[in-house]
């Protein structure tokens, strides 16, 4: 695993910066003058009501959405623009591919390739992108499946796996490209309740054993609290409140945060 060991110090330059980012889908403004940054190795939880723009942030980083205005900067390089001879151009496909190589993403609905077995799902991209040889990818892929507890399912097609197993394969697949930043988009929302824990355990291990920067969008408040170094509470495309999980969950300052958490607790979640 390509671990990017970097001491977490306050003066470190951010790995991700959102600079006045706006995103609209037609007349609907999803992100509104959004500014925040993420330090290398930081574990960030993005919470808030549905439609508050959390997922859009991850999708922008994965280049699945473009910005309407503003700039997303990764390691000091703009994700949306390129500069040639001091002139600004929209990012080319080549530029986007280069930028993407820092990221891995796990989707709410797994998005596994149904015609490929678990191990083939994991090895396809490292081989095609030239990162690893076939033999290396296979070896590495089996290690990753082992890590997510699915070594015995390597040759199964996704249709024969449970939701929790599928999501663990999807995590292994994202890790196979050795990303520096892992984006986790509501990865337990599509799972039956009894399968949530096996997926969260994998994430907890990753959090503790690697130096990857991780951004987690979730509705599991209990997990967000254990996982995050910092929590951002979003509403209507803006950050309402941010801080360490202890503050956000136990002594939120903002009335909107309080009412959101009250609703979540009323729905039966542990916070």
């Amino acid at each position: 695993m390509g671990l990017h060991v970097a001491p977490k110090t306050a003066e470190q330059s951010p790995i991700i910066e959102f600079r006045n980012v706006e995103k609209s889908f037609g007349a609907i403004k999803v992100l509104d003058q959004l500014c925040f940054s993420v330090k290398p190795g930081e574990h960030l939880a993005l919470i808030g009501p549905s439609g508050s723009g959390k997922t859009t942030i991850l999708r922008m980083l994965m280049t699945l959405e473009s910005v309407t205005a503003g700039d997303v900067v990764v390691n000091g390089v703009s994700l949306n623009h390129e500069y040639k001879n001091a002139k600004e151009f929209p990012a080319s496909e080549a530029h986007l591919r280069k930028m993407r190589s820092d990221f891995g993403m796990v989707f709410q609905h797994f998005n596994l390739f149904p015609h490929k077995t678990a191990i083939q799902n994991v090895t396809l991209a490292p081989v095609l992108t030239g990162l690893l040889s076939k033999a290396e990818a296979k070896k590495r892929g089996l290690e990753l499946l082992e890590k997510v507890g699915l070594a015995d399912k390597a040759d199964e097609y996704p249709s024969r796996l449970s939701g929790g197993q599928k999501q663990r394969v999807a995590i292994a697949r994202a890790l196979a490209l050795q990303p520096k930043i892992l984006l986790l988009d509501e990865i337990t929302s599509a799972l039956d309740p009894e399968l949530v824990e096996e997926v969260l355990n994998v994430i907890t291990n990753l959090r503790n054993e690697t130096d990857m920067t991780m951004l987690l969008v979730t509705h599991e408040m209990g997990f967000a609290k254990d996982f995050a170094d910092r929590v951002l509470f979003f509403e209507r495309g803006k950050i309402v409140e941010e801080g360490p999980p202890g503050e956000i969950f136990h002594s939120p300052l903002h009335e909107r945060t309080k009412s959101f958490l009250r609703k979540v607790i009323a729905a039966g979640q542990r916070v």
Binding site: F107, N111, L112, H115, L124, A125, R173
Partner: protein
């Protein structure tokens, strides 16, 4: 009894036409498949030029009769110095025509593979062509197969038009027997059964392909 022996005799004569029908069918299907894939994929790409050229091709060959295309291939192409044998002309016309119909099948199947699959290929940093070849097409092919089976049978039945440019295929042979013996029922019954047998064979092949390519896909989508 004499009549029966005569029937058996010309029966064989008619069946000799089956070989030409098979040749026409196999080669036309091959041409149609390649053209359908190329133009169908072209219609799903971002390039306006690619899409325009493919669209023009499809509309032109779908919108003009295969009959006219066949005559053009056999009688008009020689005027610009390209002389084709009757079978070659038949394959060209049937292949180009079938390809135009198949193109829509390919385009629709590619578009039917979910957006989630495309997004996964982006997240895994595959190029557009890698995504198409390794992820989208293998899933789309399973969706294409039933329609391709229909199309192949259409092409097989369409080979009868090649009799008009003197290819001695099944229908041509049956017509010859009819004009010489005056017997209509037996020759046409015979070619009907032969066409049916060929169609059944083709469908079995398509079903085998569906099974072969459907592994992991046909039971559910992920």
């Amino acid at each position: 009894m004499e009549n029966f022996e005569a029937s058996v005799g010309y029966g064989w004569y008619i069946l000799t036409g089956a070989w030409a029908t098979v040749q026409l069918t196999v080669f036309s299907c091959a041409v149609a498949l390649v053209i359908a894939m190329v133009t169908g994929v072209a219609m799903t790409r971002n390039s306006h030029l690619l899409r325009l050229v493919a669209r023009f091709y499809v509309e032109f060959f779908r919108g003009t009769s295969v009959f006219v295309q066949l005559f053009a291939a056999y009688f008009v192409l020689p005027l610009i110095g390209i002389t084709l044998s009757p079978i070659q002309a038949g394959v060209l016309a049937l292949g180009l025509n079938g390809g135009a119909y198949g193109s829509e099948v390919v385009r629709a199947a590619i578009n039917a593979v979910g957006r989630d699959q495309r997004e996964a290929t982006i997240a895994l940093n595959l190029t557009g062509w890698q995504a198409l070849w390794w992820v989208i097409l293998p899933q789309a092919v399973v969706l294409m197969l039933p329609s391709f089976g229909n199309l192949a049978i259409e092409i097989m039945k369409g080979t009868a038009v090649a009799s008009l440019i003197t290819v001695s295929e099944l229908t041509f042979q049956a017509q010859t027997v009819r004009s010489q013996t005056g017997d209509t029922a037996i020759p046409f019954l015979l070619i009907m059964v032969t066409y049916l047998a060929m169609a059944s064979l083709m469908m079995s092949f398509v079903r085998w392909l569906e099974k072969r390519f459907g592994r992991g896909i046909t039971s559910e989508s992920t």
